[in-house]
């Protein structure tokens, strides 16, 4: 039974990193990107490909997994200079599709839909409990780093950009540079989450990173609350717990999938309607 919780907590820790990263972009900067699942995918595949195909070491592969999604997200954010709002959302959504398509079709490297098996993790992490500690420590570390970032003058500038872009420009803020930087931050931690996921599962394939995962992240972030890193952690743990709890309810197997999704969507919908700040968010979803 304990092993079950270890698994659950590890997954929650890893996803929480991804949610916090997402919040930096969407909650703190107001840049509503739909690329989050794709970013994790890039991080995961970067780590997996480098360790399996090119035999890079754990540390260097992990470092690469942080860099690549950061660059990608930075470029996307740069596009927000000209492409705004809904159009930007569509662009980032398609980025996610392209990432999956790339993994599916670049079979020489990624083995396409077959996925990558036997993703290595450093030996000292072979024990599941140690891996859990590792994940939790990384989550804590991410939290601390991100917390410092968003509480700094830079973070306050992000808030200014989110709340009133015109005013921010008037005050001399380089809005695009701020957005790009926050996107890079998002990318780094999303990459971390992706690499950890790859290490944890040991096997990844393109379908892991499709639109379903994106919707999960949106849920974790919005329910936890925008503009709150603590909220992101809380939202992730809570919604994952709900998903697991549903397993224990005796439901007709034919309906359980649909019911689970409807419950998730209802929670999201209710939060948006009646508590747009989420559980402990600081920013209202508008």
């Amino acid at each position: 039974m304990e092993a079950y919780f270890i698994y659950f907590l590890t997954l929650a820790a890893i996803f929480a990193i991804g949610t916090m990263a997402y919040n930096v972009s969407a909650g703190y900067t107001g840049l509503f990107t739909l690329a989050q699942a794709g970013l994790l995918g890039v991080g995961a595949y970067t780590y997996a490909l480098l360790t399996i195909n090119l035999h890079w070491t754990f540390v260097t592969a992990l470092a690469a997994a942080l860099v690549v999604p950061a660059i990608a997200n930075g470029i996307l954010a740069y596009a927000s200079k000209k492409i705004r709002g809904d159009a930007f959302a569509i662009l980032t959504l398609w980025f996610g599709f392209v990432v999956v398509t790339l993994f599916l079709n670049w079979r020489g490297a990624t083995r396409g839909a077959l996925g990558l098996n036997g993703i290595p993790r450093p030996e000292f992490l072979d024990d599941t409990f140690l891996f859990l500690l590792f994940a939790v420590l990384l989550t804590a570390l991410s939290y601390i780093v991100l917390r410092r970032i968003v509480s700094s003058p830079f973070g306050r500038a992000l808030g200014a950009v989110r709340d009133d872009e015109v005013a921010a420009v008037a005050l001399g803020k380089d809005v695009t540079r701020l957005r790009v930087t926050s996107a890079v931050v998002n990318g780094v931690f999303a990459g971390l989450a992706g690499a950890l996921l790859a290490m944890f599962l040991g096997y990844i394939n393109p379908t892991l990173f499709d639109i379903t995962l994106l919707v999960q992240f949106i849920g974790y972030m919005v329910v936890g609350g925008l503009g709150s890193l603590e909220g992101s952690i809380l939202g992730t743990v809570l919604l994952l717990a709900v998903r697991e709890a549903i397993r224990f309810v005796p439901l007709d197997p034919e309906l359980v999938g649909a019911i689970r999704e409807i419950i998730f969507a209802s929670i999201l919908g209710l939060v948006i309607l009646y508590r747009p700040r989420g559980l402990i968010g600081k920013v209202e979803l508008e």
């Binding site: 039974m1 997954l11 077959l114 397993r247």
Partner: protein, 405 residues
């Protein structure tokens, strides 16, 4: 915008609180981990006597996609499992123990399979699992099940990677590696095709077939002139179809993941007047699918694992299935799942509730007879089977040939 950094003291205190919380959490986890001690899910192998089924109830885990694109596989296979379970229970169960199913949604992806496996192994303490239906979800849990010596049989996971997935992993669906090359051989040798087009879905199953078909066909001396994939959920195949028409190859090998998609591709091929011979794998091989779509599928040649639907056990199973449900889209996979339950039941009755002995029993099991026909397993837990080549003619599939690799 108002002020100067009011925060240093508060921030330091804030960070301090969080650090303290972290230390407590980590300490708590370590303490809890020490406490849990030796509760494991590994049943020690007893070489002398037969291990009893705990509690007189045989808990059987099932991991299938119950949601998402692949839910139809999970649906068919789960029904096959349920029919087998009710039959066995009605006949007295396994060694007197009734079978109780614990079903989890694998979602046809590695994370879903891992989470489902995690619950079944660590919470429900099952030792035997039927699943997954998809290779992705199967590979998601085989590491965990291997570590815990949990035995799994998959009715439909065809990825070649599963051959090496572990000593406790079995499957009654043949590896992709074979069907594609049999199709290529048939096209080149029997149909005399020199050029071929492959239109395939980008899934592990179909990509595997595309690769083996292409490799074999080229090795035989043929030329694959068109090799086009399409994404799951694509509905418009204009580009693939028109490229094919442009080249007019001798044969077109269509590999969809689901019947409806396959029907769409063929519909679009035929309505553009592509006259090449059409070849496909088992997805479109069901008689029901053919009967419903006679207009489009006439003349189609299918290559599927040899499965005699008229044989007594097969026919009986199909009848039971149809009595309660709509016709199965994938009768082979449904029968495969059905047989898996019987295989496990037999193994447990023979060697007891012991997965190590069970794995040994299954490995090298030869000529077992069930709804799938005669099954043998090889040393890797893969099933050895023949293939049937059938052609659609007047609304029915006529068997043309049986190939035993």
């Amino acid at each position: 915008m108002q002020n100067q950094p009011s925060s240093p003291p508060a921030k330091k205190g804030g960070a301090g609180v969080w650090f303290l919380i972290l230390v407590l959490v980590v300490a708590g986890l370590i303490y809890w981990n020490q406490q849990k001690g030796g509760e494991d899910n590994v049943v020690p192998t007893n070489t002398e006597t037969k291990t009893e089924i705990p509690g007189g109830v045989l808990k059987l885990g099932v991991i299938m996609p119950l949601s998402g694109d692949a839910a139809i596989y999970g649906d068919n296979e789960l029904k096959g499992v349920q029919i087998a379970v009710s039959e066995i229970n009605a006949a007295g169960g396994v060694d007197g123990a009734q079978i109780e199913l614990v079903v989890e949604d694998g979602k046809c992806n590695p994370e879903g399979g891992a989470a489902a496996g995690n619950k079944l192994v660590n919470v429900d303490m099952v030792k035997f699992i039927i699943g997954g239906a998809c290779s992705g979800e199967t590979l998601g849990f085989t590491t965990l099940t291997g570590e815990n010596q949990v035995l799994s049989i998959s009715p439909s996971a065809t990825s070649p990677a599963i051959t090496d997935a572990g000593a406790y992993v079995f499957r009654t669906a043949p590896s992709d590696a074979l069907a594609g090359s049999i199709a290529a051989n048939y096209a080149f040798t029997d149909l005399g095709a020199k050029t071929a087009a492959i239109i395939y879905e980008t899934t592990d199953y179909a990509q595997g077939l595309e690769k083996t078909f292409k490799d074999t066909f080229t090795a035989l001396g043929g030329e694959v002139v068109i090799d086009e994939g399409f994404a799951t959920g694509d509905k418009d195949f204009t580009a693939q179809v028109l490229k094919t028409k442009n080249k007019m190859p001798d044969v077109v090998y269509v590999v969809p993941q689901s019947p409806a998609t396959g029907i769409l591709v063929i519909k679009q091929l035929k309505s553009t007047n592509v006259t090449s011979a059409l070849l496909t794998a088992e997805v479109l091989a069901s008689d029901t699918v053919l009967a419903d779509n006679e207009v489009f599928l006439d003349g189609l040649t299918v290559i599927e694992p040899f499965y005699d639907q008229t044989a007594a056990k097969a026919a009986a199973f199909l009848a039971s299935y149809k009595a309660e449900n709509a016709d199965p889209e994938f009768p082979f996979f449904a029968a495969s799942a059905y047989s898996d339950v019987y295989l496990l039941a037999e193994a447990i009755e023979a060697v007891g509730y012991d997965t190590t002995k069970g794995a040994a029993y299954l490995t090298g099991l030869k000529n077992w007879s069930g709804a799938l026909g005669t099954i043998s397993f090889d040393a890797n837990g893969d099933v050895l089977t023949s293939y049937a080549i059938k052609k659609a003619d007047g609304g029915v599939y006529d068997q043309v040939k049986v190939v035993t690799p």
